[in-house]
């Protein structure tokens, strides 16, 4: 063994022992026997206040710079040409006219693109970011209808777009699987390493024997995220370093993944993304950033790539369609004896993502038997991906409509049927719930909504031409906290704290909420805290996904804060009123440290730093592994109530009232949280009534690749949506808060469908429920 290797080994040994000690010392705040986050107890701080967004003034002035708005000297503009077949080979690719067109700097195709490693597929490694691991312009193969086949760089966007139109291509087409009947293979899907299958007892036999039962097939179409900001990036190579102004939910993941693709060290790629114009799961690493970086390298110029709306549909995946069969068996009292939820969804071989629609069914209701399964078939199409509440958004459509159908058959109130089947512990894992107050959410929601005015007999309330009905459904989304959280606190002599964390602000309120949380944790006024985020140079590997960012950032800052208190006590030394105190004897308040039971023993941060001659104190903390989810079944919960008016003549549905009653732990900022809940609900109204990615099963091409033909809810479609919450802290989550970003879209589709059934007597199981299906 060389001396270098011995040194390395010794260093690793030290690192491991330090790590072990850290694990032993960690308070395990979220684990059994641990002390919950002390902020949960604090009642009069910034947490819970409806603070307006800290980035509000920038955004209302249009002064927040988005990725495709950064101007770089010498920048050229990119335009992409897309394949028009689903599978085959490029036979001829004539780029002569494009190359000769005015202003053109480069035409890149598979013939001259630099050799690139395949993009690391999301979930294949800690920092893998790519939604699709197909080779990027490396050969003459076409893998989906819409795959980029050429990229043009020109001095202006107009020149690039025109030159792109001059490219001529011919293909040798091959048979492609573009619809479920032609799908290539079918197998049990896997999600985050786990098979999408669960069996408890003999559900089929229990269902057959049940005195009450419902069984139906529900279908949901593909959906696209349609963030208002199309994907884009502005990037430049400086020597061997790549600087990307990106629109992404994963800055650290993108930097590492781009380094893998271009054979670089991770530190050579810098990703900045302080403002993201909506994400919903779509703003990850797709081909456009990779192609733009390759072209920038070839051309030696900075590049702006701003995908057209069509471009987003061609290369960024959406939610896959599903076909779900739900069968529920119940005894004479309405207690579930069998829950069967099986179905099929397509994906590509290059996507990490089978739409996991059985997830919400795993923890929803107590039942003696379960049979849950997602079958995945492979199609030649743009890689499908994560979209707001993957699994739960469409899985609750099937499960919660079936519960409504069962309630009707039993002659029970649908709220009471759900409460009757409330589980005491997680029905599949057997783990206790960390905190579950869904019954309270139902009771509060029902009272507030006026549920008692619902007539259980369908089609019994008519006002003129309008049939009026009410429906409800359960909303659910799991608590996640992914490994890799870290944060840095810089406390300066003036008593100002800066939090550095590689998190993201796509509109969730991240910057605002964590300013509040950090201010409470540090005992500072809001003005004395700045949160810096959205850059891969900052600490942490933190995905803005899975509704987990708040937990990840919150715990990372909590760990950094523990470091900070320890360091401050050390610096305070023997001349301080705090002399001799340990970290667990003090708290942060009034811009300093004070003894918990003796507030007179206090010293301000400024005083401690001044006396020790320090201009600032910098500490970093890392969040421990998310073991809390091994001990508890952790989920956000909600009860959705909807009132619709359906026109008896035209079939037009108008949502006249909607209420979401949530149980998501402590609500950190009621203003931004309400917007998150409403935003999810409104996307759920789209899912219920209008959204559908129209996929041409003959050729694998998305037909409605624009915002005119893909219908989103607009102002007139959105009633005033009321949101309320239990605000009961979860003792096993940082700040007592579980996720809130995705739950709003869950349950909403079923609540609308159930209301439509109550209004009209029509049970539509094929989503979206457009007016033609009600005539």
């Amino acid at each position: 063994m060389s001396i270098v290797d011995k040194g390395k080994e010794a260093a690793q040994g030290i690192a491991q022992s330090v790590m072990k000690k850290a694990v032993e010392l960690a308070p395990g705040a979220l684990l059994p026997g641990g002390r919950p986050d002390p902020l949960i107890r604090r009642q009069h701080g910034h947490i819970g206040k409806p603070v307006s967004r800290v980035d509000g003034p920038l955004k209302v002035r249009g002064a927040a710079p988005f990725a495709a708005e950064i101007a770089l000297d010498g920048m050229v503009y990119a335009a992409l040409a897309y394949s028009t077949i689903a599978k085959g080979r490029i036979v001829t690719l004539d780029t002569g006219a494009a190359e000769a067109a005015p202003g053109v700097v480069l035409v890149m195709t598979h013939r001259n693109a630099p050799r690139l490693n395949p993009p690391p597929r999301f979930l294949s490694g800690d920092k893998a970011a790519a939604g699709d691991d197909s080779p990027v312009m490396q050969d003459d193969r076409v893998r989906w209808n819409g795959e980029p086949i050429a990229l043009v760089l020109a001095e202006t966007q107009e020149q690039a777009d025109h030159a792109r139109s001059l490219i001529r291509v011919t293909y040798a087409e091959e048979p492609a699987a573009t619809s479920l009947p032609t799908a290539d293979g079918c197998e049990v899907g896997t999600f985050m390493g786990e098979p999408l299958r669960a069996v408890v007892g003999d559900a089929d036999a229990a269902f057959a024997a049940a005195p009450h039962k419902v069984e139906a097939v529900y279908t949901t179409p593909g959906h696209n995220h349609n963030a208002l900001e199309p994907h884009g990036a502005t990037l430049v190579w400086r020597g061997d370093e790549l600087f990307i102004h990106d629109a992404t939910q994963a800055v650290a993941h993108t930097a590492w993944s781009m380094a893998q693709i271009f054979d670089l060290e991770e530190a050579q790629v810098h990703v900045s993304s302080p403002f993201v114009g909506g994400g919903f799961g779509a703003k990850g690493l797709w081909q456009h950033q990779i192609l733009a970086a390759a072209a920038a390298r070839l051309a030696g110029r900075p590049v702006r790539i701003a995908l057209s709306r069509e471009g987003v549909y061609r290369i960024v995946g959406g939610r896959s369609p599903t076909e779900q069969r739900v069968a529920l068996g119940a005894d004479a009292d309405g207690r579930l004896t069998a829950i069967i939820h099986r179905g099929v969804t397509p994906k590509t071989r290059h996507s990490p993502m089978p739409e996991p629609f059985i997830l919400p069914t795993q923890s929803a209701y107590a039942a003696k038997t379960f049979a849950l399964e997602v079958q995945t078939c492979y199609l030649d199409m743009v890689a499908n991906t994560f979209m707001r509440a993957p699994g739960e958004a469409v899985g609750t459509v099937a499960l919660e409509c079936a519960m409504d159908e069962l309630a009707e058959q039993l002659g029970m109130d649908p709220v009471e049927l759900r409460i009757l089947n409330e589980p005491e512990k997680d029905p599949l894992s057997g783990r206790p719930f960390s905190s579950r107050n869904i019954v309270a959410a139902y009771r509060a929601g029902a009272q507030r909504f006026g549920w008692e005015r619902r007539n259980p007999v369908p089609r019994s309330r008519r006002e003129g031409d309008w049939l009026v009905g009410m429906g409800c459904a359960t909303a659910t989304y799991p608590y996640h906290r992914m490994p890799g959280g870290a944060a840095r606190i810089t406390l300066d002599a003036a008593g100002h704290a800066r939090i550095d964390v590689a998190a993201h602000e796509m509109g969730m309120g991240t910057a605002t909420t964590h300013t509040q949380v950090a201010a409470d944790r540090l005992g500072l006024p809001l003005e004395a805290v700045t949160v810096r985020y959205g850059d891969s140079s900052l600490p942490g590997v933190i995905l803005a996904g899975g509704s987990q960012q708040t937990a990840s950032v919150g715990l990372s800052v909590m760990m950094a804060h523990q470091e900070l208190v320890g360091e401050l006590l050390k610096l305070a030394g023997n001349d301080s009123p705090l002399a001799g105190l340990g970290a667990d004897e003090v708290e942060c308040a009034d811009a300093g440290l004070r003894k918990l039971d003796e507030p007179g023993r206090f010293e301000s941060y400024a005083s401690i730093l001044a006396r020790s001659g320090r201009s600032e104190l910098v500490v970093e903390g890392s969040a421990p592994m998310p073991l809390e989810t091994m001990h508890w079944s952790m989920h956000s919960h909600g009860a959705m109530f909807c009132e619709v008016r359906v026109n008896a003549i035209t079939g037009e549905t108008r949502v006249s009232r909607f209420l979401g009653s949530f149980d998501c732990g402590r609500i950190l900022n009621p203003k931004t949280a309400a917007s998150q809940f409403r935003g999810g609900i409104i996307m759920g109204l789209g899912l219920a009534l209008m959204e559908e990615t129209q996929f041409d099963g003959r050729n694998g091409r998305i037909m409605n690749r624009n915002l005119s033909d893909y219908h989103l809810p607009v102002h007139l479609d959105v009633p005033e949506i009321e949101v309320i919450w239990t605000d009961i802290p979860d003792p096993h989550a940082p700040m007592g808060a579980r996720g809130i970003g995705e739950i709003g879209i869950t349950g909403t589709g079923a609540a609308v469908a159930n209301a439509i059934h109550n209004a009209t007597g029509r049970r539509v199981r094929e989503f979206p429920i457009t007016l033609d299906k009600l005539l």
């Binding site: 307006s52 967004r53 980035d55 509000g56 003034p57 920038l58 955004k59 209302v60 002035r61 249009g62 002064a63 927040a64 710079p65 988005f66 495709a68 708005e69 202006t156 966007q157 107009e158 025109h162 995220h225 963030a227 208002l228 900001e229 199309p230 403002f275 993201v276 114009g277 909506g278 919903f280 701003a306 057209s308 709306r309 796509m506 509109g507 969730m508 309120g509 203003k671 931004t672 309400a674 917007s675 409403r678 935003g679 999810g680 609900i681 409104i682 996307m683 624009n706 915002l707 005119s708 989103l712 809810p713 607009v714 102002h715 007139l716 479609d717 959105v718 005033e720 949506i721 709003g744």
Partner: protein
């Protein structure tokens, strides 16, 4: 002669293909006006031309010679926020902020249409000289401005509050 943008004269582009939107964003670096679809379906690019709201992605810049364009950068006066901008913050009328400049410019133009008595799809009496000021009128008239984050309630609250308190707003110049 060129175009006046937020009170400043700017040259027409040499390339007649340049949209008013791209002139603003790429040549003048006024990137507050957003590109959401570039085909007139989302409203993110809404600006005011001589006080009327238009979709700048569907407008060729050279057609606007001699006209006065107001973008989100020109909505507030002397660096202060326009009352509607302030109301958007108070009512959380946005999340990601990408559709926001278009919503605000659109609302300013929309209120003038309402005051002029221009009927909308839901107006009951097309011959009425004044239109009842209702949330549904606001919602209908703002329906050309898409928001995917779902800030619709806050947007309408902000507009309703701003113009209820101030029924004769100053038109943007």
């Amino acid at each position: 002669m060129g175009i006046t943008v937020n009170g400043t004269d700017v040259d027409l582009p040499d390339d007649p293909r340049v949209s008013l939107l791209d002139l603003l964003r790429e040549k003048l670096h006024l990137s507050g006006t957003k590109k959401g679809c570039d085909q007139g379906a989302c409203g993110a690019c809404t600006v005011l031309v001589d006080g009327q709201r238009i979709l700048s992605c569907l407008a060729l810049a050279v057609q606007y010679e001699g006209r006065s364009v107001t973008t989100i950068e020109g909505v507030g006066a002397d660096g202060a926020l326009h009352p509607l901008q302030q109301a958007f913050i108070e009512h959380d009328g946005f999340q990601c902020g990408y559709c926001t400049p278009g919503q605000i410019c659109s609302a300013i133009g929309m209120i003038e249409e309402l005051r002029r008595g221009v009927p909308s799809h839901i107006t009951g009496d097309l011959h009425a000289t004044s239109i009842p000021y209702s949330r549904d009128e606001l919602r209908e008239r703002m329906s050309g401005n898409l928001c995917r984050c779902g800030a619709h309630n806050g947007i309408i609250d902000a507009i309703a509050e701003t113009y209820r308190a101030n029924p004769q707003p100053e038109a943007a110049e």
